[in-house]
Amino acid sequence: MRSVVAVVLIALIAAAGLAGCGEKPNVTVYKQGKYQGKPDNVPWQSAPFNNNQVEWEKAIKARNNGQNEYLRAGS
């Protein structure tokens, strides 16, 4: 009877000691989700560019360079 109690006690202590080994990582790792909404089109698809990507890029480039006053002043 005594030995049975001792075995049960040892088993309980071992179980309690091993319970700490089940630790899970606590830091959340965010994963990039997949877009669930409506699809959008490219900026050059509609008027005034009507699918002409080259013209659109030319217009954007001109506007981009318009921000450079060194270029505008010709210095």
Partner: protein, 207 residues
């Protein structure tokens, strides 16, 4: 074409709020929503600096990662946009954003939050280009008209630059070399230093 970026030159910003006004006027933004604002550091002290802040359209946008309904997407030009029909106004993106860009208009009684609103780089949203629905939800689509954001184009001192990242960086580099100081760009590293796609975490890494 490279991806679209914003750059604010703190040496030039005179805190005129022209960018804020241009944005408000262009998209008819309601009262209480500020897609763009000017922040002044050390206000009133010698050497104070002002920077114009809005959504920076980050390379690895944290708002996209935390959105529980995945309403964010990135266009081929690197502009971070969202679908307002999906947004539930939870505010997670606001907590994740290092620039405080997401705005929540008051919707109904008891201070209920409406759907998130933010800078679109004047690129509209997922509605038909130049449609009434697009203007109502996201504002004007200047990019589809071959124009750059109104705030950058309106800036009187050209402190705020917006457009193709390579061109914008070139303009700024020329300025810094010419004046010989002020090479720090507020928010540039936070927004664009991370790669477009994150590497998978190492095995055993905490985050």
């Amino acid at each position: 074409m490279a991806r679209m970026k914003f750059l604010c030159d703190a040496e030039r910003c005179i805190e005129c709020n022209g960018c804020v006004t241009a944005c408000k006027q262009e998209h008819e933004i309601p009262w209480g929503v500020n897609r763009r604002r000017v922040v002044t550091l050390n206000d009133g002290l010698p050497g104070e600096k002002s920077v114009s802040v809005a959504c920076m359209h980050c390379s690895d946008a944290p708002c996209m990662a935390v959105c529980p309904v995945d309403c964010f997407y990135k266009t081929s030009e690197g502009v971070v946009l969202h679908d307002k029909d999906l947004c539930i106004g939870c505010g997670y993106c606001f907590y994740a954003c290092p620039f405080g860009a997401p705005q929540f208009p008051q919707d109904g009684a008891f201070g209920l939050r409406g759907k998130m609103d933010k800078c679109t780089f004047c690129a509209g949203g997922p509605e038909a280009d130049h449609s009434a629905a697009e203007f109502k939800k996201y504002g004007r689509n200047r990019l589809a008209e071959g124009k750059l954001p109104a705030c950058a184009e309106m800036c009187s001192t050209k402190a705020l630059l917006g457009g193709d990242g390579d061109v914008v960086a070139d303009i700024f580099r020329t300025r810094v070399l010419t004046r010989g100081r002020g090479s720090e760009v507020w928010g540039w590293g936070t927004a664009y230093s991370k790669p477009e796609t994150q590497r998978p975490p190492q095995p055993g890494a905490k985050s």
